[in-house]
Amino acid sequence: MIERWVQQASSFAGDVDGLVLLVTVLVGFWFIAAEIMFFWLIFRFRKREGVATQYLSGKEKHVKNWVNIPHYLVLVCDVFIIIAAVQVWVKIKQTLPPADATIRVVGQQWAWTFTQPGPDGLLDTADDIRTSDDLHVEVDKTYHFKLEATDVLHSFSVPVFRLKQDSVPGRTITGWFKPTKAGDFDIQCAEICGIGHGIMAARLHVETAEQHQEWMAQNSPIAEAEAAVSDSTTSE
């Protein structure tokens, strides 16, 4: 469904799309069945001369079951959807697989700032790399993100990851993603945040290990200071 328009680029994108497909099939069936029944009844019982209406209160067994049985079946469908929805939710939002790297994402009016560890692999050290409106990550690595906001609510939204999380001033919200596909994609702000909300776009660059090393080498503040980088100092 969604992958028709938006590529799947994270480890859980397929789970979300699978859930959406399940919901589409189940509710699609009920929607189409109800509409067919509805229009058929309108046609079948249109006003005709000499045909009287039937006096039914809704207590008659033979007609009542036409409502009762679908009603129980809807309940069964609901249970399936709940189970599937909770499973996907728990995977994305309630579990935190071990991280290969941790980044900080800060929303402010009207830009995203990304801080990621430099060659030492640790956040909040001197070799951190800070970028604005560009996030470079490595494919097939698990990232934790620490999401913050400095002024108003924003929402860190990456459609190709099927990931969305509001950022709230005064809080640090931890989440995760694992990119699975190299390429350049949109990062959105999905919570209205003032007059610049419509320009609060950032780009996500999912890179191969080599590309990422190269990018890191070019941007590391330590590297710039030392003017030279040896291969052995770079982190995984």
Binding site: V67, I92, I192
Partner: protein, 568 residues
């Protein structure tokens, strides 16, 4: 002078209103029908304001940066103000005044067979406060800095601090207008509940009350029970804006998420506050034009009550990804999916009512049937959003916009047209033109689908909400998506153009329409036993009730209907 004294002393006295000066007649009348009409026309006028805002921002989305005829180039700040004003007006100043206040005021005394509301003066005050709130919200469009632009949900800190919103006057006036509107509807709601509970025609038992009266009463109870927390929230928001308190400011020990809980604790029941009266209107019309007893009156009543109760336990499905404890999302997924049970049951019962009927497709029935046909899509698409795992993707996309317009448009627009065309003969004593009515119907319902079906797709394709120009987002700036946006806008233009037919029909009917009889649709309920239009006091002699409201096609009777007041 004598008139003044007379009117002031006997505001509720019947039969003497014809010699009142116009100011007293229109601004101090306590007649429930006059107040109903004022709510109706004010609501429709506000609907035009809401439609205009939609026209401007849809034009901007289809043709970004081009000057919009009647407005000019839309700046990002103006865009935010327009969408905020559109949402606020359509919910608080169109759906509520028309569906609850106008139909509630008109129908409850007439359907219960009494001469007026229990508290007529409170009723009058309710409209006056409502009018004041409407004037304030429209005025925000013209103040310095423009109208509030923080969306109709008004999440702080954006809404709480002028440094962030850049609309100091607009945001404060927005809060005041909304709070006043709540006050007006509390007063109206008390009236509806007390009148329907305590003041009914002799013989009218609780289960003889037409469903639409039940829905308005239960909607009013729902409103009263849910609005308190938000009213407190609104006062705190006002203090944050004007006094520099920090209820929603984490820097001062507050919490922005608090507002979201208060807002949606009200905001979700509010959906049912407007849905229920619309479903009530549809039930009345379907019974009359299918010539059928409602299928399972009691079950419908129970599903209404079940929906109302459940609606208090679903609010945080608006906040799955807002930063609440993620475990909470599981609880709210369950409650949200559960509310589909009574709603589905209600839809099934309505559809079953058609079985064995003799269906006449007059204009009111077309509207009522189209309510069911379109609301079904709004209902089922809600499941995608209630399923937490899928909402991670769909939250705040155009899928949400399309979903709730498939609920709110049937409610606020289709429900209104259904009720308006059905009760128009009673309200104004003339028959609307059927041919024009049908042209207006098809000219509204077809473009409506062409507006919002494309938006399901743009939402699924990742269009996020409240963006004034998607060209800033490379993945969204595709010709395919832009074609869908243009389709929606063109369909909106067509739909708006067809509303001229509606207003022309009213104009023509008032000038030269056929006079309506007392009971043009052969209905059972009590309002059709009064004159068209009913005089002040409604009946010379108040009716008594012998049976339920839906005795159509009773075997062994010559007529296929059996009015509630007819003696057995």
């Amino acid at each position: 002078m004598a008139h003044h004294t007379h009117a002031a002393d006997h505001g509720a006295a019947h039969g003497a209103h014809h010699d009142q000066p116009w100011f007293i007649k229109y601004f101090w009348s306590t007649d429930h029908k006059m107040i109903a009409f004022q709510y109706l026309w004010t609501g429709m006028l506000m609907g035009l304001v809401g439609a205009f805002t939609a026209y401007v921002f849809r034009m901007q989305l289809a043709f970004p940066g081009q000057p919009v005829p009647g407005w000019g180039v839309v700046s990002p700040g103006e865009y935010n103000s327009l969408i905020t004003t559109h949402g606020s007006i359509m919910v608080f100043w169109v759906a509520m005044p028309v569906l609850i206040a106008a139909f509630g005021n008109f129908l409850i005394p007439l359907m219960c067979g009494v001469d007026d509301m229990v508290f007529p003066r409170l009723n009058r005050l309710s409209y006056q406060i409502f009018l004041l709130s409407a004037i304030i919200i429209v005025a925000t469009l013209f103040v310095d800095g423009g109208a509030f632009g923080g969306a109709w949900t008004a999440y702080p800190p954006l809404s709480a601090d002028a440094r962030f919103s850049l609309t100091p006057a607009g945001s404060t006036m927005w809060v005041i207008a909304v709070a006043l509107e709540f006050v007006a509807f509390l007063m109206g709601g008390i009236n509806f509940i007390v009148t329907a509970m305590n003041s009914r025609a002799p013989g009218m038992k609780a289960l003889d009350v037409p469903i639409v009266v039940w829905t308005i009463v239960i909607a009013s109870l729902l409103f009263m029970a849910s609005v308190g927390p938000l009213f407190a929230g609104a006062v705190m928001l006002l203090f944050d804006q004007t006094l520099g308190t920090g209820f929603y400011n984490p820097g001062k020990g507050g919490d922005p998420i608090l507002w979201q809980h208060l807002f949606w604790f009200f905001g979700h029941p509010e959906v049912y506050v407007v849905l229920l009266p619309a479903m009530g209107i549809v039930a009345e019309i379907m019974a009359v034009f299918a010539r059928k007893k409602l299928f399972g009156y009691k079950t419908i009543l129970y599903t209404i009550i079940a929906t109302a109760v459940l609606s208090f336990f679903v609010w945080a499905h608006h906040q799955f990804i807002a930063g609440i404890d993620p475990r909470m999302a599981n609880v709210f997924t369950v409650t949200t999916l559960l509310i589909s049970i009574p709603i589905a049951e209600m839809c099934f019962l309505y559809i079953a009512t058609l079985y064995g009927g003799s269906i006449r497709l007059a204009t009111p029935m077309l509207w009522a049937l189209s309510f069911i046909a379109t609301f079904l899509l709004g209902g089922v698409t809600g499941i995608f959003l209630g399923a937490s795992g899928a909402d991670v993707y769909f939250h705040d996309t155009y899928f949400v916009v399309a979903h709730f317009h498939y609920t709110f448009f049937p409610i606020a627009i289709i429900g209104t047209f259904a009720g308006f065309t059905f009760w128009f003969p009673k309200m104004f004593g003339r028959m609307l033109d059927e041919r024009l009515g049908k042209i207006h119907f098809w000219g509204t319902i077809i473009p409506f689908n062409f507006i919002f079906i494309p938006l399901f797709f743009t939402g699924a394709a990742g269009d996020h909400r409240r963006i004034y120009n998607y060209m800033n987002f490379p993945d969204q700036a595709t010709p395919e998506l832009q074609a869908l946006r243009i389709t929606a806008t063109v369909a909106l233009l067509v739909m708006l153009a067809f509303q001229a037919v509606f207003f022309f029909n009213i104009f023509k009917t008032f000038r030269s329409g056929k006079k309506a009889e007392k009971n043009p649709w052969d209905s059972n309920t009590l309002e059709w036993t009064a004159d068209s239009p009913p005089p002040h006091g409604n009946w010379a002699e108040l009716p008594t009730v012998s049976r339920g409201p839906y005795e159509y096609g009773v075997p062994g009777r010559a007529k296929d209907y059996w009015p509630q007041n007819e003696k057995a």
